[in-house]
Amino acid sequence: MLAMGEVHTGLLQNSGEISESTCRQVLGLMAGETVRVSRRPIPHALSPERLTGVDCALPSASRSRIRGVGTVVSRCAVTGGRVAQGSSYVRVVRSEADRRLPWSHYLSRPGVVEVLGKAKAADLAEGFVGDPAPGCLDMGAISGRFLDLVQASPLLDRRAPFRIPRTSLRWVAETGEPSIRFTLHTEQERTLRLTHPGPFTPAVVDLCEDLATHDWLLTSLLIIVERARIGATPGAQAVARLAPAIDHLLHLWMPAARVEEWLRPFWESLERQPGFTRQWRSLVDRVRDQIATSTLALLSAATEAGRR
């Protein structure tokens, strides 16, 4: 019927970026399973996937009681040794039985939640990206716990260079005529409606995680620039406030790096409207200009002092 998920993104609770070997340990959530690491074009580490069993009401826009039983897939990721994510998703399908089956049935279909009784995909999709009622499938809580799991690792020093809130991206993907709708809700909440050609594959999850990473980067850089109060504070002070962005964020922008070819057009359409990279570049330019002006001011002050 459809797939839905939620990605929580935050700054890794560590003073600097972590190495690949630390990443492997932090993300080693399961004995005997390897952490997948890619180094190009940006270091990215992905934990093994774990399942959580659920038997509960599914979100529905019409507030009808729709029962779903199955497992949620979750995983954690660290990008650039710096950005941490907890991500969960399910594929929702109709059950062939009208009652709950033995648990082994659901475990033979990992990542699938079966709907008992009648349900409409559109109703579920609207319900999930809308405002899910309490007591409904809470993938936010699951993703949040997985992100906590990474952040609580004893290998991290918990001395993050700045405080930035986590963001959450709730997404729904359906098969159909390609379209994408990205919506900002509150400061930290985003939703994504995606219609893709062909059947759902985990590559769609990669796309959502990649979008979540970049949305978090953009949100964080905006916050840092805002906090620097450029123009309202002395140049040197503003530059000091911008420094963490230079040290920790600016090199992480790598849109669609891990997105499969057939899903790239979705990223590209978001680049046209609203234009993530356009806004990122303008912010980066602003940061660099500020530093250049400040450096010039310092240089001329030093020259002045030398003349005297």
Partner: protein, 318 residues
């Protein structure tokens, strides 16, 4: 110039899952505990006498089922060296083989129970523990972590705790536990997976038996590799259990150790253990890719395999 299509790959970014050769059925001819050993070779002969006709039946059934009649049936025997250490391989194994031969039984593979806990640096039991996904009672929506009693696993919701007198002074009446997938009435099962004394963890017999079933079904992988592949022993039987490989191939002509299905011929006294084993196995999430490998292989052979892994396991209690 025409556009060049580039592909780029990184080995560390891919998951590589080895595949394992598979028989059609793995038959466990017996499981030897210290008490059986102490009862003398008579007990063992009696076991093999009871098993022999069932093995013949299984062979016949699979010959009918497999196109061309080429059924791959492998046999195995498990010795407990985990809960108690007795005798030595050099003394015990020849005795077992001799007793089997008296009833024309060939034991293809011999395994040590402690290998199901840990062997060759692979902690199979931990591996399986990490793959447990608790059977959720109704209204489990993911908002809270699963309710767990450390070291225990059940098939439903436990009885709420009954304290003699509640804060308000009213005694709370007993409420029953409930099985999640009950049909009419509950059969509630709560299994102890392990206990710990100090830092030493002892896995329970059902938990190790669940690992043993998964190993026989070829569904375990460690870092993508097949753990504990059978080893042919050169030279004689060692004098120490630790010197014995986890799984020994006794018969060079044997079909593969792991199989699509398993059959265990056991004494009815193991019935409660096996109920516990099934409770555990129905909450083990086997790797998706491994499940797919086995499914594809069986389909290519024209064999329809049960989807749920507990349905691939059968027993004869005699």
């Amino acid at each position: 110039m025409t556009p060049v299509h580039a592909t780029f790959g990184e080995v560390a970014a891919e998951r590589r899952i080895a595949s394992v050769p598979l028989s059609h059925v793995s038959v466990e001819l017996g499981h030897l505990y210290m008490e059986d050993f102490e009862a003398g070779p008579g007990r063992l002969r009696e076991q093999f006498r009871k098993v022999a006709p069932w093995l013949a039946t299984v062979r016949a059934l699979w010959r009918e089922r497999v196109p061309g009649g080429r059924a791959r049936v492998s046999t195995c025997f498990l010795i407990d060296d985990y809960f108690s250490r007795f005798s030595t391989p050099a003394e015990l194994v020849p005795m077992v083989l001799e007793a089997a031969a008296e009833h024309d039984l060939t034991i293809d593979y011999l395994a040590r129970e402690s290998a199901c806990a840990e062997s060759d640096g692979v902690e199979l039991a931990r591996l399986v523990e990490d793959r447990l996904v608790d059977d959720p009672p109704p209204d489990t929506d993911g908002s809270r972590p699963p309710v767990k009693e450390t070291g225990w696993l059940c098939n439903g919701a436990r009885s709420p705790r009954t304290t003699p007198v509640q804060a308000m002074g009213k005694a709370r009446p007993w409420e029953p536990p409930v099985q999640n997938a009950k049909r009419g009435h509950s059969i509630f099962v709560d299994v102890e997976l392990w206990d710990e004394k100090g830092s030493r963890r002892t896995w329970s017999c059902p938990f190790l038996a669940a690992v043993w079933q998964l190993l026989r079904l070829g569904l375990l992988r460690s870092e993508g590799r097949v753990p504990l592949p059978p080893v042919t022993l050169d030279g004689g039987w060692p004098r120490d259990w630790d010197a014995l490989p986890a799984v020994v191939r006794l018969n060079p002509q044997a079909t593969p150790f792991s199989a699509y299905t398993t059959l265990s011929v056991l004494s009815p006294r193991f019935l409660p253990v096996e109920l516990a084993v099934r409770t555990i196995l129905s909450q083990v999430a086997v790797d998706d890719e491994v499940l797919r490998q086995v499914a594809t292989r069986s389909e290519n052979e024209g064999i329809g395999l049960e989807e749920e892994l507990v349905d691939r396991i059968s027993y004869v209690f005699v």
